[in-house]
Subunit: 271 residues, 2 copies
Amino acid sequence: MKRVMLSVAYDGTNYCGWQVQPNEITVQQVLNDALSALTGEEIHTIGASRTDAGVHARGNVAVFDTNARMLGDKYSYALNTRLPEDIRIQGSREVPGTFHPRFTSTIKTYEYNILNRRFPDPTRRLNSYFCYVPLDTERMNQAARYLIGTHDFRSFRASGETNPDRSTVRTIYSAEVSRSDDVLKFRICGNGFLYNMVRILAGTLIEIGRGRVAPDKMPDILAAGDRSSAGPTAPAHGLTLMEIRYPEWEPDFTARRSADCEMPGVTRSAG
Amino acid sequence: MKRVMLSVAYDGTNYCGWQVQPNEITVQQVLNDALSALTGEEIHTIGASRTDAGVHARGNVAVFDTNARMLGDKYSYALNTRLPEDIRIQGSREVPGTFHPRFTSTIKTYEYNILNRRFPDPTRRLNSYFCYVPLDTERMNQAARYLIGTHDFRSFRASGETNPDRSTVRTIYSAEVSRSDDVLKFRICGNGFLYNMVRILAGTLIEIGRGRVAPDKMPDILAAGDRSSAGPTAPAHGLTLMEIRYPEWEPDFTARRSADCEMPGVTRSAG
């Protein structure tokens, strides 16, 4: 029996999110089916991030256990010939059987794209949120800087999630808003994110960018500890999970790495 | 009766190209139907560029004649509420009845995107051509520079197109290959393009980028005047018609403008 880790990219447009659900097509279900057909076993993957319907990924992580003889690093090629074109494995390798993708400390990077122009662009409609009101990048970036560090992000948690035992403290290593032509990109990197947190942060930054909220209100919103103090939840299709790294475990595993997102005390090789 | 000009953007994935064809869904057909429903007249648009199946556009141009009272600049909003989300009007205005989008001198800009990485990325599969062989941007850019100027581009014309009366001389104002992370972009701007010319140029540049052909062979390929001297036709889905300008007519019409593509002797206002 061995445990294999996969880096999984997908266009979330046509899926009801990552996690297996009855009567719905999900990324995990399609992956389980492809792996079961490939190995002849009934495979159940464990995902690192249970992304919502419509959210995209360039590097989600999943593991599974198998008795098949195939070498761990061959699964990426073997699976890609069986998967639909909106899911592609970016890499695979064997990992120790004790490795769990959610119970191991991680560095996750998300990007939220906003198409900020007069009319929608059909060629970019599936992975960016269209906003015709002009947004001020500098104001948004100024507000995003307040997110860096260790904070209680309770204000940015979906109101349905109210398990009082779960910590709402997270550490953000970098948070930045940049503009390239008509695309605004909000990139954030941290040790974990609450349910809907990146989308609520994006929605709040949009309110700030259009001038409804002052950039220096961000510390007050954080301090309020109340969902109603933050902005609306931005739509799912603007969000992409860019990468997940396991710094203590597999620092060089994922295909994509970001130089701007170093966890203090962790050294990574160049790449 | 008035003539109205539209700037049209579309994701070409689900269309059999621009031009109306029996029993096929085309962008022009969908646009004609939306305009006919809006005006209550039978509308037949005339397109500037008859893009192939799968090719995208951010700024193709079409005109139509109507007796409807609506002001020319209102059509963009009125049409966008009726069109499917993969077609969006970027602007509209009334033009003189003598204006014809194909028989007026133009500056057209195309971009061809190549995703150059180890595995396909599902989130970018619909508007870039995936190539896993590493491509040398500098070699490609060196070769692209030979295209600038006025040349006979017969070598880069689809072999089916052999009308001997049609000139195959075109003027290219700029041609450049640039890389941003894992995306190579071939951007070309000229006064016109032969059938499949940009895709054959892209296919030839890929051959050069992967080392099969030397960059300084480009002048020889041009001089040969023979389709077989050039590389293969790169796939349609990597190509986007970025903009069409009518410098003598409506220099400020199109929504997108490129500072890198000035036609000699034509002054444009900033924007």
